[in-house]
């Protein structure tokens, strides 16, 4: 049981009529891991998640949760899974408190002390009718129910899109606690700092294809660092060094420069810089945002890591 993957998605496809929403999605989630799932609007994150949850049927490939087929064995899978969608819609005539209890009971759970703590932490007035809640408050209802559910996999699809920064922080703490107690989490989000902070592995999806998977470090490794340097001698030879891009001299003497450099060339470049006597040096690994922007902005003309 231990070595079963929590999530194993291979070559997943999904078409809506003629439109291919998912073309080739591959995801793996190991027990105790937090997997971040990012990509631009309409890339297919929610669609992937809905296939994983057995809400829609894949048109090809396979999606397995706990080693079981996501579509055929959805009921068994759902016994050990909690889900919070990005847009939470709740029965207008129930109160928040009633909804939380209902959701817990439906997953075979009970209202515990942990539930009360969560209600307090998220500062939710549970006596109000769902129809009077704001978007963020509806999201809190679903989050409280999910976090007080004791299962092994938690699936969040943009769970914090309506939360204020304070509540988002609480969300991050709660995910951390889940991780510490050995739970697995799939988190789709547009808030990259959130993903960067919380996730062990990141999968990037674009136009229905997962184009990159790995830890943030490994992705940073695949791509370029940005370097700002000042030396005492001119840096002319940088101009035709392999692995150096976007070179920009900041002064006429060409002793101050900014450029980006491929990770595997960094040794050669550093050697060249030292030969020119370094006065000042700053290198920054790319943030997830840089990575993200590079993947989507530069389009196909410049593949990262090539």
């Amino acid at each position: 049981m231990n070595h079963t993957l929590v999530l194993d998605v291979k070559g997943l496809k999904k078409s809506f009529g003629k439109f291919e929403a998912l073309k080739d999605v591959n995801l793996t989630l190991h027990p105790g891991e937090v997997l971040g799932f990012i990509g631009p609007n309409g890339a297919g994150k929610s669609t992937t998640i809905r296939v994983i949850l057995g809400l829609i049927k894949s048109s090809g490939g396979s999606a397995k949760v706990f080693g079981k087929d996501a579509w055929k064995e959805s009921v068994t899978i759902h016994k050990d899974l909690a889900y919070v969608p990005g847009d939470v819609y709740l029965w207008p005539n129930l109160t928040g408190g009633q909804t939380i209890d209902l959701l817990l009971h439906m997953s075979g759970q009970t209202h515990t002390g942990r539930t009360d703590d969560l209600i307090k932490e998220f500062k939710l007035d549970t006596s109000k009718k769902n129809r009077t809640y704001s978007k963020g408050n509806r999201q809190k209802v679903a989050l409280i129910a999910a976090f007080s559910t004791d299962v092994s996999l938690y699936v969040f699809d943009e769970p914090t899109s309506g939360l204020d920064p304070l509540n988002e922080l609480i969300f991050q703490q709660k995910v951390k606690q889940l991780k510490e107690s050995g739970k697995s989490v799939l988190l789709s989000s547009h808030i990259l700092s959130e993903v960067e902070k919380m996730c062990d592995t990141i999968a990037i999806i674009r136009e229905g294809k997962v184009i990159e998977t790995g830890s943030l470090e490994s992705m940073q490794h695949l791509t370029r660092n940005s370097v700002a340097v000042t030396t005492s001698e001119p840096l002319v030879k940088l101009q035709n060094m392999p692995g150096v891009y976007q070179l920009d001299f900041k002064n006429d003497q060409k002793t101050t420069a900014e450029f980006s450099v491929d990770s595997d060339q960094i040794g050669n470049v550093m050697a060249a810089l030292s030969a020119n006597k370094i006065l000042q040096l700053k290198t920054t690994p790319p943030t997830l945002e840089d990575l993200f922007l590079r993947y989507y902005h530069s389009d196909n003309d410049q593949k990262v890591g090539e």
Binding site: S46, S74, G97, Q98, S127, K128, V155
Partner: protein, 535 residues
């Protein structure tokens, strides 16, 4: 006036959104009306046919169903007016209700009104006024098409004043009820509740009309719905009811405006109260469904029981022979008269059985429909990710819906019986009511299964069920008066039991109706398990 800015732009947008719905409704409402008028001379052309139908229409049962035939001398046109006025007014009210809710509360619910009012230079009262105008124009078009069509139909005994009065009064009754619906749209914050208020109001006015028609037609003035009968079309051609409708409609719109300026967007005048912080009761889909549906289910059962009681309360008049001259009494003997009277009441029970079944199906089908509504609104995404199978979910809704429909039907028949027997000198045995009930069950199940089939495989087309139900009802309720050919009558599943409760139930159609129902149900269930759930 700034409050009304951009009313016309919104009106245009409403028409753009609703044009298919409007076209279909108007074609059916006006087209069918004129078609029936054109065909009418063929059905009731000669004096003998007229006398027969007049006698039928003068019976209290028909009075209760269609309104009274007051005039002594009759013509094709007068019979047409008597048969069609109440009946068509009901459809006009339903049409206008659906437009009014769609143009006011439903639009607000979808967030469109907020976007329009908040982000654009649009007056606060513009959406409401646009809805009122949309109804006015739709009803106006109905009046024009119908008026012209009636002129061409040129029934014997018709006159152009009467033709136009008929067309305009039908449009007016619809519009007025639509305006009243706009008041309810201000009171409560969701379209579902607005519809409930709408139909409760309509039900009350309808019951008052029915009971006063049978007892004392002068009192029918108390019901706005009853005004439609007071036009005396082709007899006196009284335009006063049209004026009354317009005044009531304008007053209602005024009230709606006054309420609208005093409320927040997305809120109703009736405030939403908070509630309990915890729930032990809500354990899963079944208890949730019960919780969400309990008030409306209760409302259906009580409302229908009241309807049954009101029909029951006129049973003694229904039983009376229209032609009870001493000669006839002597010929038939007291036993013969009694048997004849009993048969008269029993065939009335047969018609009531159809009406009650149609309404019971609506009540139950709305529950099953809710499964798809909840799916579309996204409520179910949290349920579908808990360990409950889709079969379980669908079964829950289907069971609840079918049981509700069956309970509604039986409760209504029982109150009809109890109240009916209290007015009759010789009570009718419960046997007849039970027979009626059992005969209607396969029909009820058939319609429910059809809906399940649509929900399972083509949920977008589920409204076809309403067309099938309405069509079957019109064929069976109206077909005989319309002299429809037999093959057309057979399309309606009600046809197969139209001798009940006077005669025993024919077992054969029970089996094949149930078989069709079962097949549809299975298709629906399998389809539901295997289709994508909506977002």
């Amino acid at each position: 006036m700034a409050q009304y800015t951009q009313t016309f732009a919104l009106l245009k947008a409403n028409f753009k959104r609703d044009w298919i719905k409007l076209t279909v409704w108007l074609l059916v409402l006006a087209g069918l009306f004129v078609a029936v008028a054109a065909k009418f001379e063929g059905i009731y052309g000669n004096q003998q046919q007229l006398n027969t139908i007049a006698q039928t229409l003068r019976s209290p049962a028909m009075k209760a169903l269609f309104g009274p035939l007051t005039h002594a001398s009759i013509s094709t046109a007068i019979i047409f007016a008597t048969e069609m006025a109440v009946f068509w007014a009901i459809f006009m009210v339903i049409f206008n209700y659906s437009l009014a809710v769609g143009g006011s509360r439903a639009q607000e619910e979808s967030g469109l009104t907020e976007m329009v009012l908040g982000g654009h230079p649009v007056g606060r009262l513009a959406p409401l006024s646009a809805a009122a105008l949309e109804l006015l124009i739709a009803d106006g078009i109905f009046a024009v098409i119908t008026g012209i069509g009636m002129t061409f139909a040129n029934m014997p005994g018709s006159d152009s004043n009467g033709n136009w009065l008929f067309a305009v009064s039908l449009a007016a009754v619809g519009w007025t009820f639509g305006m009243i619906s706009l008041i309810f749209s201000q009171l409560v914050a969701d379209s579902h509740n607005v519809s409930i208020y709408n139909y409760v109001f309509f039900g009350l006015t309808y019951l008052v009309r029915m009971m006063t028609d049978v007892s004392n037609p002068d009192n029918t003035w108390w019901s706005p719905f009853g005004w439609i009968e007071k036009t005396d079309i082709y007899i006196k051609n009284n335009w006063l009811p049209v004026a009354l409708f317009l005044i009531l409609g304008i007053v209602a719109f005024g009230i709606a405006v006054a309420l609208n300026v005093n409320r927040d967007i997305d809120a109703g005048i009736i405030q939403v109260r908070g509630g309990k912080r915890q729930s032990r009761f809500l354990q899963g889909p079944a208890t949730l469904l019960f919780w969400n549906q309990r008030s409306i289910s209760l409302f259906w059962i009580i409302g229908m029981a009241v309807l049954g009681a009101s029909y029951g309360s006129v049973f003694n008049s229904i039983g009376k022979l229209v032609n009870d001259s001493p000669v006839i009494k002597e010929v038939l003997g007291s036993n013969g008269v009694q048997a004849l009277e009993k048969n008269q009441v029993l065939s009335f029970v047969g018609i009531l059985g159809i009406i009650f079944t149609v309404l019971a199906v609506i009540g139950g089908a709305m529950v099953i429909n809710h499964l798809y509504t909840e799916e579309r609104r996204g409520y179910l995404q949290l349920v579908n990710t808990t360990p409950h199978s889709r079969y379980y979910l669908l079964t829950t809704y289907v069971l609840y819906g079918v049981i509700l429909a069956v309970v509604i039907l039986y409760a209504t028949l029982m109150t009809t019986m109890v109240v009916g027997n209290s007015t009759l000198a010789h009570s009718l045995s419960i046997r007849y009511y039970n027979r009626m009930f059992v005969a209607m069950l396969p029909v009820l199940i058939l319609f429910m299964s059809t809906l399940v089939c649509f929900i399972g495989i083509m949920p977008k087309l589920r409204s076809i069920v309403w067309i099938l139900l309405g069509g079957s009802f019109v064929i069976s309720y109206f077909g005989r008066l319309m002299d429809l050919p037999n093959w057309a009558m057979k399309i309606s599943p009600f046809y197969w039991f139209d001798k009940v409760p006077i005669h025993e139930i024919n077992a054969e159609p029970v089996w094949w109706l149930l078989t069709i129902a079962l097949v549809l149900m299975v298709i629906g269930f399998v389809g539901y398990r295997h289709r994508d759930l909506a977002q």
